[in-house]
Each structure stands twice: as structure tokens, then as C-alpha cells.
């Protein structure tokens, strides 16, 4: 076909020629069959904005690796505590100031016989000041069986072990040089006596992988717990900032005029305040009244907050008061920009209500920016919390955050440097990976910004 037209351009048509001489067949102009139509139509599924963004994010190796590491840290913080037998608050009197993978004398003694038994209860491994078991009834569960026994005299510095699997002998032992000496069989029943206390039994002496602090608390457990507290604070603070900032910014941008002017002057005022002075002051100011309110009030809200502790709640209040200004400026900028778009004008011309324009046009187009800013807000909230806790103003013991762990470690930094370096490293990894994920999200959700 193309060939034919090349030889005779339309400007040189010879009127003497008949159609047949142009090599045009009537058959070329027949309607296409269904199969021909199908082969011509290029089928490409419409790709939604979010699918497109997800694809771009997946192609970003750095962000994907960062996300992977962050998920590992999340598992460390949220699942980790259930994998180790130590608790963040429990103090082990005999295991104070241990280095990584060090055992206290008692622990070492029990460890020397751990191959010879199936499981055990060791008084040295119990938290708190209990160096022994007082006389009374006790029970524990092992492999679906319940063992209950009675102690007629105080049991100190000893272990109760279960040996040879199903053969259920509960014995009190004394250990010397890695051997069991002088073990006394205890009579037991499978019926739990009334008022019996449950014992937690261990299969092994679990190592203190990063040592313990001066109160004998396991640092790994504390770091896991601290990471959890820090991450939760970061996320909640970012959400608070998101809600307040976007509502404020949206109202300011939508209303315009005098309202916008006044609201933006307020933002500027808060912006120019050296916030760190106020933050420090707020931490001290809020702590006591909050504590009083927690103690006095019985509402579920106060109870829920009091489990968080006054320190954390006052951090949230600080964010709600001072840190939403950046978010509100971003949202206002977005709204102002979107308001001028042709499709909004078109929607207005078609008679769409304000609510519909906000829902259909403004919100979906803002979401990308909101996600990016919120994601990048999390690490900065974690930063601020750790800074406050480091100065001794954030969370208070026995609760821990990564900042307070570093703060606790500062006094003994010359002797036990790992106490600061380990939580510090976890903190750095969290902030680093979140920053990288945030950058990746920005590139994925707002490709125009990518340089």
C-alpha cells in the first residue's frame, strides 16, 4: 500500500488513469473482522497512581533494603521480647554489671549442669530479691504435665530439676564443679494444691547477649523494649502532627483571605519560637499535673494514658502544640496549588459542592505529600524523644526508650561503653532506615521532585 502511494503522490494524480492503475483494491477497504480488530488494539491495563508508585518504589534498591532492615528492627522490637526469657523491668540481683555473654557465679554454676537435665527452676534465675524459695506449695508445667510439690523448709541457692524426660523426678540439688551433688527427691502430685505459686522453669541459662545494667536488668530485653517505645512514640507523634497540621493547613488554604492571613501569622509566630527551650520547660511543667490527673481520674482514657506514663504523654502534647507547623504549611501550599487547577474549576462549574471537591479532588491529590511528610516526621520525632530522654526529661525508669538507655549508660561510659553503643546503634539504624524509606516514598509518590 505504502509503495503505491510513494510512486504517485496525490499532487501528481493522473486523471487519465483508472483506479485500478493505482493498485488500490476494493478489498482493502472492507470492514475489519473481529480478529483483525483485536490484533490492532493495544491492550494495556490502566495503571493506578498507587500501583505505579509501588512499582517505582520496588525498583528503588536502596529503599527496599532499608525497608527490609526496618522490618527486621520491628520484629526485634515487637517479637523479640517473647523470644528471650528476660523482661525489661526485672532485676536479677546476682547478675549485675555483666558484660556481653558473661554469666554471674550462680548462673555459671547452673549452666555447668544444664546438659544433664531436661529443665529446671533455679532460684538465681528468678527476678527481684528472691534468692530462695520460702516454704509453701509450688507448681510448674512441663510438656503438658503439671507438677506440684511442697517445700517444708526454705530453699536457698539451689535448683529444682526435672530429669530424664517423662520420668518425673523433682529434685533439690547442690552443684559442685559441674556435677550434681546431694540431690534430694521431692514428693510431687499432678494436682495443684490451693494457693500454690507457679514457677517459671527454664531449659537453659539464657545468655545476657549485651550484658546487664547496674540493677541487674538484661540490656537486650531493655533495648528491645526501648526500641518499641521509641518507634511507637515516633509513629503516634507523626500521626498527631499529621492530623493537626493537615486540618489547620487545609482550613487555612481553603478559606483564604483574612482567615488564611491570621492563621499563617500564628504559624509564623510558632515557627520563630526557639522551641527547644519551651519543649524542655513543657516536659517539666506537664509531668506533675498529668501524673495527678492519672491518679485521680478513673476514665478509660486516663487509664490508657497512664500506662504510657506522664513522660511520653507530655512528649505527645509537645508535638501537638509546637511541631505541626511545617505540616500545615505543606498542606496549605498543596491546597492553594490544587485549588487553581483546571479540573477543580471544572468541578465547580459543574456545580460540585465544596465537600465533593475536597473528597474527590483535593484529598486524593494531597495524599502523596501527606504520606511522605508523615514518614519523614517519624524519625525526627524519635530524634526529639531520644534527645529529651537523654537529658533525663522523657520516659522514666523502669520504662525505657532508646534515649533513656543511652542516658543511663552515660555515667559508666568509660567502663561499659557497649551499654551506650548498642541502643545507640539501634537508634541510628531506625532513623537511617526510616529516612531512606521516606526518601524512596518521595521519589515513588512524587516523581516530579526526583532530581
Amino acid at each position: 500500500m505504502k509503495q503505491a502511494f510513494k510512486e504517485f503522490s496525490p499532487f501528481q494524480v493522473n486523471p487519465d488513469k483508472v483506479w485500478a492503475d493505482y493498485n488500490i483494491n476494493a478489498s482493502d477497504f472492507e470492514p475489519a473482522t473481529e480478529s483483525e480488530k483485536e490484533s490492532m488494539v493495544e491492550i494495556r491495563k490502566s495503571v493506578s497512581y498507587w500501583r505505579d508508585a509501588a512499582r517505582r518504589f520496588k525498583n528503588n534498591t536502596v529503599s527496599m533494603v532499608a525497608l527490609g532492615i526496618f522490618i527486621v528492627v520491628l520484629l526485634f522490637a515487637f517479637l523479640g521480647p517473647s523470644l528471650i526469657p528476660y523482661d525489661y523491668a526485672n532485676q536479677y540481683r546476682s547478675s549485675q554489671k555483666l558484660g556481653p555473654f558473661e554469666y554471674s557465679d550462680q548462673e555459671a554454676k547452673i549452666k555447668s549442669i544444664e546438659d544433664q537435665v531436661d529443665c529446671m527452676f533455679a532460684t538465681a534465675l528468678q527476678p527481684g530479691s528472691s534468692t530462695g524459695l520460702d516454704p509453701g506449695d509450688y507448681y510448674f508445667k512441663f510438656k503438658g504435665n503439671t507438677y506440684c510439690f511442697n517445700l517444708d523448709k526454705k530453699l536457698s541457692d539451689s535448683v529444682i530439676i526435672l530429669k530424664d524426660g517423662e520420668l518425673s523426678t523433682v529434685r533439690e540439688v547442690h552443684i559442685m564443679n559441674g556435677e550434681i551433688k546431694r540431690s534430694t527427691p521431692l514428693a510431687f502430685t499432678s494436682e495443684v494444691a490451693e494457693g500454690a505459686k507457679e514457677l517459671t522453669i527454664a531449659k537453659k541459662v539464657f545468655p545476657h547477649m549485651v550484658g546487664t545494667d547496674s540493677q541487674g536488668r538484661d540490656l537486650l530485653a531493655r533495648t528491645m523494649y526501648g526500641a518499641r517505645v521509641s518507634i511507637i512514640i515516633g509513629i503516634v507523634a507523626a500521626l498527631i502532627v499529621l492530623v493537626i497540621g493537615s486540618i489547620y493547613g487545609a482550613i487555612s488554604g481553603l478559606c483564604g483571605g483574612v482567615v488564611d492571613f491570621v492563621m499563617m501569622r500564628i504559624v509564623e509566630l510558632i515557627y520563630s519560637v526557639p522551641e527547644i527551650l519551651l519543649v524542655l520547660l513543657l516536659q517539666v511543667v506537664l509531668k506533675d499535673p498529668l501524673q495527678k490527673w492519672f491518679d485521680a481520674s478513673n476514665s478509660w482514657f486516663a487509664n490508657a494514658l497512664s500506662t504510657l506514663g506522664a513522660g511520653i504523654v507530655s512528649i505527645f502534647i509537645t508535638f501537638a502544640l509546637l511541631y505541626w507547623v511545617t505540616m500545615s504549611r505543606i498542606v496549605r501550599g498543596q491546597v492553594l496549588m490544587l485549588k487553581k487547577q483546571e479540573y477543580v474549576t471544572a468541578a465547580t462549574a459543574l456545580g460540585a459542592s465544596n465537600g465533593r471537591i475536597i473528597r474527590r479532588h483535593l484529598l486524593p491529590n494531597c495524599v502523596g505529600q501527606l504520606v511522605i511528610t508523615t514518614c519523614l516526621q517519624i524519625p525526627s520525632a524519635i530524634f526529639l524523644e531520644s534527645f529529651l530522654s537523654f537529658l533525663g526529661l522523657g520516659v522514666s525508669a523502669p520504662m525505657a526508650s532508646l534515649g533513656s538507655l543511652c542516658s543511663d549508660a552515660l555515667g559508666t561510659i568509660t567502663i561499659f561503653p557497649y551499654r551506650l553503643l548498642f541502643p545507640g546503634a539501634v537508634l541510628t539504624i531506625i532513623v537511617l532506615t526510616l529516612n531512606l524509606v521516606g526518601d524512596g516514598l518521595r521519589d515513588a509518590l512524587d516523581p516530579r521532585l526526583k532530581k
Partner: protein, 313 residues
């Protein structure tokens, strides 16, 4: 220009007033009194309150503070160094000077190192130098100041024994090294990142192409044409930088036991030394507000395209 500066000055005074008022009322909501100790009797507290004017209504107290500050009188310490004029504590005992020396050095280091590093990364874009700098700066902005400070302390101070562990009043030049590094590290990294991005942005502009077409050497293009235009975001960052440096100084002064302004402020809040809290807030706020003002004006000088009257984005 003058009208702009006058307007900004008025806004600055308003901000300062607001900060002082908020601080004053917040401070007074802290339960307890600065004179409350285990031994003090109610009569003693009342006497002390009378002596320092704490029995007057709050509004009168606030007015007294502000009037005295205008006269240059910062009051006397109520608790931590009872009876000593706060002015003497801050200025004569060297607390203010100490923090300022540290802070200004850190800002200097941040600018002097950060901008060239950013230029280098942009100039060598895509090479290993750029890659290395990118990794370094990305990690750098994620390390909290106190982790860096403590790490330096452990490895340079305790293990290698190269530098003094306790910086004290910074009498020795060696004592400056670790605090200044920890204070400026974040900002060096941030400024380097910022400079690289805005430099690459500037390089794609038309005037750079023109310069290149004229045959100007690549080095001069970067140094003369691109740098000036890429400095604008960096200058914008200098305002918050001052605030960051102050934030950092709280941590760095605690870590290295430097008796500076930051450490003193934290102590005064914890001790409820009202006059010291107010005076320190006053001094630091003036510093921050003045710096923001200077940055805004410098901004205008660097980039004449920016109109000063519009404050919107």
C-alpha cells in the same frame, strides 16, 4: 528594604514578648517553689517570696521582669547560686561565652566543610567520590548527637587517650575537638547534601549552558556561576541550624561536662530557679531571633529575585 527590616524587627519583638510570656506562665505552673527544701518552714518560704517579689500577682511579676530586662538587669539567681546576679553567672563566669564559642565554631565548621563537600560531590557526580560522600552524609544525618559524642568519647578519649575526656571550660585547644565535631557533624552532612542537590539543580539551568557555550572552564562554572545560585537553600537552612546548634549544645555539654549555657538551662528548669530560666530564655531567644533576621536579610542580598514583602511560598 528599611521598611522590611523595621517590620521584621517589630515582629521579632512581638515574638520575644510572646516567648517570655509563655515561659513565665509555664514556669509558674510547675508545682512547688524554688525555696522549698526539706528543712524550709512555711515562714521561711514566705520571707523568701517577699524578698524576691514572688508574692506579687503574676502579671506584676511578669511586668517587672520585662521592665528590668529593658534596663539590662537580668535579676539575681534564686536558688542555684543564691543572690548572685544572673548577668554575672551567664557572662562573667563564662557560660555564655563558652556556649557561643562552641556554637560559632560548630557553625563555622559546618559551613566551611559542608559547602565544599557538597560542591565536590556535585562536581564528581556519579564517581566513587560522590558515592562515598552520599553514604557518609546519609548515615551522618541519622546518628543522634549524643551517640556520636559518646562514641568519640569512648574511642578517642578513653581507648586511644588522644583527647581529654572531660572538656571542662575548654581551656585547651584539644578540648574543643570532640565537642565541635559532635556538634557540627549533623550539619556538615546536611549542608553537604543540600549543596549537592541544589548545585545539580543549578547546573541544569540555561545560564550554565550559556557559560559552557562561551567556553568557560568547568571548574569556573561550578565555582562562579553555579555556587552562588545553589547557596540559597543553604542560607535558608542556616536559620534552623542555629537552633540545631543550641539543641545539640544541651546534649554535647552534658556529655562532655562543659559548664555552658545549655547545661545550665536544663539545670535551672529542673531546679526551678525562676530568674535563671527567664534570663536564659531571654538571651537564647534574642540570639535565635536575631540570627533568623540576619539570615532573611542575607537571603535577599544573595538572591535579588526574592521579594521581601511576600511571606507566602
Amino acid at each position: 528594604m528599611l521598611i522590611y527590616i523595621a517590620k521584621r524587627l517589630a515582629a521579632a519583638v512581638a515574638t520575644l514578648l510572646l516567648i517570655m510570656t509563655i515561659t513565665f506562665f509555664l514556669m509558674n505552673t510547675i508545682p512547688g517553689s524554688p525555696f522549698l527544701t526539706e528543712k524550709s518552714t512555711p515562714q521561711q518560704i514566705e520571707l523568701a517570696n517577699q524578698k524576691y517579689g514572688l508574692d506579687k500577682p503574676l502579671v506584676v511579676q511578669l511586668k517587672n521582669y520585662l521592665v528590668n530586662y529593658c534596663k539590662g538587669d537580668l535579676g539575681v539567681s534564686l536558688k542555684m547560686q543564691e543572690g548572685t546576679p544572673v548577668k554575672d553567672i551567664l557572662f562573667r563566669q563564662g557560660k555564655f561565652g563558652l556556649s557561643m564559642r562552641l556554637g560559632l565554631l560548630a557553625v563555622l565548621v559546618a559551613v566551611v566543610l559542608g559547602i565544599p563537600l557538597g560542591c565536590l560531590a556535585a562536581y564528581k557526580r556519579g564517581t566513587w567520590v560522590d558515592g562515598l560522600l552520599r553514604v557518609l552524609t546519609t548515615v551522618g544525618v541519622a546518628i543522634p548527637t549524643f551517640v556520636l559524642a559518646a562514641t568519640l568519647l569512648i574511642y578517642l578519649g578513653v581507648k586511644a587517650q588522644l583527647l581529654p575526656v572531660l572538656s571542662g571550660s575548654l581551656t585547651n585547644w584539644k578540648a574543643y575537638i570532640m565537642p565541635v565535631i559532635s556538634l557540627s557533624f549533623y550539619d556538615v552532612c546536611y549542608i553537604a547534601k543540600l549543596t549537592r542537590t541544589s548545585m545539580l539543580d543549578a547546573i541544569n539551568q540555561d545560564y550554565i549552558r550559556t557559560a559552557r557555550a562561551k567556553g568557560v572552564k568547568n571548574k569556573w562554572i561550578v565555582l562562579k556561576h553555579a555556587l552562588r545560585n545553589s547557596l540559597i537553600p543553604v542560607v535558608t537552612f542556616l536559620g534552623p541550624l542555629i537552633a540545631f546548634i543550641i539543641t545539640g549544645s544541651f546534649v554535647v555539654e552534658t556529655t562532655f561536662s562543659i559548664p555552658g549555657l545549655g547545661k545550665y538551662f536544663v539545670e535551672s528548669v529542673i531546679n526551678r530557679d525562676y530568674t535563671v530560666i527567664m534570663a536564659t530564655t531571654f538571651v537564647v531567644s534574642i540570639l535565635v531571633i536575631a540570627m533568623n533576621l540576619v539570615v532573611d536579610i542575607v537571603y535577599k542580598v544573595i538572591d535579588p529575585r526574592i521579594t521581601l514583602s511576600s511571606t507566602d511560598e
